[in-house]
Symmetry: C2
Subunit: 429 residues, 2 copies
């Protein structure tokens, strides 16, 4: 993509309303734009990151055996009356009346709807277990939306729902998603701490939140130092071992009963990026979901639900990965792999070399953002650092004459003068 | 995907409420499920088709130089008051009040929002032309939703918005999208007739609808027989020539003034799958979008908008491509390329051969739905015909003994007995 044609409305000044670094950087980098309180548009650069995050989540959900569906954003109030949550949910639920006076709502979550789908569609124990997920926009009418997309009203969530015949199967499903979550976040370059949590409005018996440690996190958590020693290598997470390590939200942390020695007990702030629940038959029983067992007996499935805050993740990643100059995207979610910088667009040799590099990167399947604008080098470097692409490939008249380019790694800032072929080899692996 | 584990709630009986064939077949094939009047969930089989359609649309929008963004579903009423459409839009607009009593709405379209984005983000003629699109759920509170996803309330739309400096540029943008639309529909196996249309609530000076001819279409259209002779080869459509061929909606068709000879004038019913508009400065002027021109003069950009009914397309394709046994998916949008049918799951040789074929197809990058269920052959064939995968690869004990498999093309019904290697070669091209 040529930057001269890319819709990238970066800001020179820091927006006054943005209180945390991810919000500031997302606005400055032209990733998002507020439309109403807590409601955002995703501009091209931001949407590319959001989609990369979606792809990782989808991959890991599919690999874990969950199947993707897509439920609508608007739900019938009657469905929520069946579970009793229509009255319980309070003002966070966006309630709507249609032209015929029927009560609707913008779904904040989908336990009721997915339970009703299963109630209609399955009859026999042979059809279980099943885990259905979707990635869909939700709405929660937060009283004070803030921190950009971190605490907004319209947000994108991945929510999965498991249905099992018995407790043992349900625990297996829960642990399966627990492991998938650790793999998912690790692929985004994030160390996520699984924290015992309060099930809240979803209800149930067991619940973990997944937190990214960051000073700007909204939750206080207490955890065993073992998590600081945990690696990001999540190819085969030992779920039982991880679940046995202490970590709890402030509300659930009782210093009297905490099993961790004082010198091992850490306190930090966390950004919640995932939340999983086991709640047994709470919804299946209330809504009459039953299947025939092998002996003709009636079985009420055991359920769990599993959420990831998809649209919050770009902000969480930025909170965990930035410096004073801007964002530092992990390779796996970067909007482009490479920023190709032409230092002098009036120089034909520079243009011709850049065009050639751009074509060769594209042919190698590498997406580059090609800064072909007529701007000063300083402005180009500042923009590249701000938007945080993992690599910067810099082409200037001196290098062209000497047969070299400069390759800079955004993360550490290391720069190398290389022959063009060596640089391309490094980028294409 | 193994069918024994795939969430595919097919129906044996034809649902009484479904009046048109696409609605009947989508329900019977377990693709969709109604959640409320005009509001549907997409089950795994249906979602796979929807995503393939999205991918084709996105490809062609990107190739045409449009850039993807994502605007939210919920919009502020104030934005629509700026253009004057808040009061004009009537009861089809789903109006919402949030917890603070602020007026919101579920977006039926996005002219206002995208204009306000440009108003904030661009300053100079150098930043134009630009064309931004998104693929997002919309809501129109139809008084009588019907025909399944064909005329529903919550629907997925691709809408693009072009901004140009002058009329000539705007016409170029319009024609560019016109050509992209023909390519898009042709890739889905659809012949789309571009029909001069009434701009309706969007307003403007020029408008074309794209119609798929089908008996169940809701619109009556009149057109020159040249469209019947038009091929699906849309690599380089001649836009000017196509726009000069007569085709008009019933309301715009005046028999007195129609330039087509009687024996060349055709009447048919059409399903609208796309609608494009040129409306000049209607929104940019009303909302104060201006840029600085090269001489410092102020320029109000000329706009167009370009919609595709994404979630309606699976139904339109089915209306155009089915037989008495079920759906016939074009290869480009099929949920799986191949249905692999094991006729006898109690036979070890059959199972082993099927497992082997399944692995080899996967290794070749071909997605198969593997019917490994313990069902009678008749039920398996009926399900395969119903869900309409382009190829059926049938493995039975007799064939295994003779070293052959049966390959059936769903579209024409032709069956061949082939060696396994020949069959795989045919499938993998």
């Amino acid at each position: 993509m040529r930057l001269s044609r890319f819709f990238l409305p970066t800001l020179k000044e820091t927006p006054a309303e943005a209180k945390i670094v991810s919000h500031r950087l997302m606005l400055r980098a032209g990733m998002i734009r507020q439309e109403s309180a807590g409601i955002y548009s995703w501009l091209p650069l931001g949407l590319r990151v959001l989609k990369n995050i979606e792809t990782i989540i989808r991959d890991e959900q599919d690999a874990a055996g969950a199947q993707e569906i897509l439920m609508p954003t608007i739900q019938s109030a009657d469905l929520w009356r069946e579970s009793g949550r229509y009255d319980d949910y309070g003002k966070e639920m966006l309630r709507i009346e249609d032209r015929h006076g029927r009560d609707l709502l913008y779904g904040p979550t989908n336990e009721e709807m997915v339970t009703s789908i299963l109630r209609d569609c399955i009859k026999s124990y042979k059809q279980l277990p099943v885990n259905l997920y979707h990635i869909q926009w939700k709405f929660r009418d937060e009283v004070r939306p803030r921190f950009g997309i971190m605490r907004c009203r319209e947000f994108l969530m991945k929510d999965a729902y498991s249905f099992d015949l018995d407790l043992e199967g349900a625990k297996r499903s829960y642990d399966n998603m627990f492991a998938a979550y650790l793999r998912t976040f690790a692929r985004m370059g994030l160390k996520a701490v699984p924290v015992r949590a309060d099930p809240g409005a979803i209800g149930g018996d067991m619940s973990h939140e997944f937190h990214i440690l960051a000073e700007t996190g909204e939750s206080a958590i207490f955890y065993d130092a073992a998590y600081d020693e945990m690696t990001l290598d999540m190819d085969n997470p030992d779920v039982a071992a991880l679940q046995s390590i202490y970590a709890a939200e402030e509300e659930l942390h009782d210093p009297e009963k905490c099993p961790v020695a004082d010198d091992r007990l850490k306190q930090a702030r966390g950004i919640e990026v995932g939340h999983i629940f086991f709640f047994g038959t709470k919804y299946s029983a209330a809504m009459g979901l039953v299947v025939d067992g092998p002996g003709g007996e009636r079985i009420t499935p055991e359920m769990g639900s599993y959420g990831i805050g998809v649209s919050r993740l770009p902000a969480a990643i930025i909170e965990a990965s930035h410096d004073e100059n801007g964002i530092i995207w992990p390779d796996s979610v970067a909007p482009f792999a490479v920023g190709l910088v032409n230092l002098k667009v009036s120089d034909e040799a520079c243009v011709s070399q850049c065009d050639d590099i751009y074509d060769r990167l594209r042919d190698a399947g590498i997406e580059a953002l090609y800064d072909d604008r007529d701007e000063r080098p300083g402005a180009k470097f500042a923009d590249m650092d701000l938007i945080g692409l993992p690599w910067q490939l810099v082409v200037g008249p001196r290098g062209v004459a000497a047969g070299t380019v400069e390759l800079k790694r955004r993360a550490g800032g290391e720069k190398e003068e290389l022959s063009l072929d060596s640089a391309l080899e490094k980028l294409t692996g």
